[in-house]
């Protein structure tokens, strides 16, 4: 890398949103906005191949070694590339509890933007890849794992060339008037949802706690049943509204158990901007957002809730709200940090009752990682408070996993049990789910 000219890479619209969110989390003592991805592998894991592949990956992607430069107010923050990153690969004793290890990694007290930890065993090794949300979205994380798996599978091949796998997509709209009209679907929706005063689990100033998580695994038979229920409930082929409705109803059950008056719930869902099957770009958040809401009445029946969300989905797609968000987010990149944080403070508790994503098939075309077969895998992002909770789904080898992530103190153990029971019941008995 010596002699390679530093590159200046502007942050994308969503990157800047997440940078402001991370600023807010750091100021509130919640740590960096990071995630941990679990890989459960069978026998044969090769540490040597992982170490070499991670080194090659770092050497070919100079952005991993970049530093953030915010610049003067009114300018766009940038990454400045430098020397290759040192991706730490850290082994732990066989008796280490992977859950406790993951929770300590979610606190974000580690250097850099990517690291590996593993807990080896004769028949089953757990590999944890920790990553910064400033650099990666979930698809980017899986593309990283796939590339490292490919490098590890060919240990004698020459080092890969330098790659500039970045560049956040932004719609090209020239002229202030055109931009103004392009962002209207987003601003209209934004103010519409803001007026509805949605409920959040842990509004400020709630107790700030450590990042915690709990997993819900489903068998292959259960997963097939769940997907069939989702198809049936939404009358066709849309899975997203069904899963979002399930998570909304679970949160509504928590409010009901607290004796709170019924209120609407809201959630922003990420929409991928990368084309399906694309191998680039790996880095930066290549996502837009769509904003959903349900009234207490709509949440009483799961089929009703799912269809209401499907209608909103169709309306927002027709209005191109996802494009409007991208235009707006790109515009907002020039906001000074304090103004952006103010926007985050206003929206995080009023616009998002909880976080949710279903990232679909986990690492779909990769079955072996560093010589070991991949048995299962899932993502666990740390969540900010407010809103304090998040439910994330993915599927590997035909088995669904939900990771429920929360801030200690935002939900009680009994409320976590309630959320898990409600989600499990709704997913498996969708057509009878009325409450």
């Amino acid at each position: 890398m010596t002699g390679v000219r530093p590159r200046r890479v502007p942050l994308g619209g969503c990157d800047c949103y997440l940078l402001a969110l991370e600023d807010q989390m750091l100021r509130a003592g919640q740590g960096r906005h990071v995630g941990v991805t679990f890989l459960e592998t069978g026998a044969g894991f090769s540490l040597q191949h992982l170490t070499r592949a991670a080194e090659q990956f770092a050497a070919s992607h100079p952005l991993l070694g970049a530093r953030l430069k915010r610049g003067l107010p009114g300018t766009i923050p940038r990454w400045i590339t430098g020397a290759p990153a040192n991706i730490e690969v850290c082994g732990h004793p066989e008796n280490t509890d992977p859950h406790t290890l993951a929770e300590s990694l979610l606190a974000g007290h580690w250097n850099g933007f990517l690291r590996f930890d593993f807990v080896p065993a004769a028949e089953r090794t757990i590999i944890l890849m920790s990553w910064s949300h400033l650099f990666f979205d979930a698809r980017g994380v899986e593309m990283t794992l796939a590339e490292i798996a490919g490098l590890a599978a060919a240990p004698n091949s020459p080092p890969p060339p330098l790659r500039e796998s970045w560049g956040a997509y932004a719609p090209t709209i020239k002229g202030l008037t055109h931009k103004f009209f392009a962002v209207r679907p987003f601003t209209d929706r934004y103010y519409e949802l803001k007026r509805s005063h949605a409920a959040v689990i842990a509004p400020p100033p709630a107790t700030l706690g450590r990042s915690k998580f709990r997993l819900l695994h489903f068998t292959a038979d259960e997963t097939a049943q769940i997907n069939e229920n989702a198809r049936h409930t939404t009358g066709g082929i849309f899975l997203m509204p069904h899963f979002l409705a399930v998570v909304m109803r679970a949160h509504a059950a928590v409010f009901a158990s607290r004796g709170d008056a019924p209120r609407p719930l809201q959630c922003a869902i990420s929409a991928q901007v990368r084309k399906r099957g694309a191998k680039d770009p790996i880095f930066q958040n290549q996502i837009s957002q769509l904003f959903f809401t349900l009234t207490p009445n709509e949440m009483k029946s799961l089929p009703h809730a799912a269809l209401a969300l499907q209608d909103q989905f169709m309306t927002m797609t027709k209005k191109k709200t996802d494009i409007a968000f991208l235009v707006m987010a790109n515009w907002m990149r020039r906001l000074p940090a304090f103004a952006y944080r103010r926007f985050i403070r206003r929206t995080a508790g009023s616009h998002t009752s909880f976080y949710h994503a279903h990232t679909g098939a986990f690492l779909p075309n990769t079955s072996v990682f560093c010589d070991a077969p991949i048995l299962n895998g899932w993502h666990i992002p740390a969540v900010s408070q407010p809103p304090g909770t998040g439910a994330f789904f993915s599927e590997k080898n035909g088995r669904l996993t939900m990771s429920f992530s929360w801030r200690e103190g935002s939900v009680t153990p009994a409320e976590t049990d309630l959320i898990f029971n409600r989600i499990r019941t709704d997913l498996l008995d969708a057509n009878d789910a009325v409450s």
């Binding site: 991928q272 084309k275 399906r276 099957g277 797609t317």
Partner: protein, 90 residues
Amino acid sequence: MNRPHTPLPSDLEVALATLIGENLFDPAEPVTAHTDLFERGLDSMGIMQLAILLEEKWGAAISPEDFTEEHFKTPAALAAFMRQRAETPQ
């Protein structure tokens, strides 16, 4: 689905494969008339975007009950469905 406003081309399968390939999938792997779109990763957002494309290009508005796996599985299946609706008197 309503009847399309614009006449459908004779090679609708190919036109759909091109439209879908250019707008929804990575161009490195072309979409053909018989590509299984769900195996290639067509998701909820993609189906919705495809429905908008059909409406913009041919005026074919898809009704909620027509969003089925059978109709959207391949460009050829979608073309057959669109032709059937185009021939149905309203």
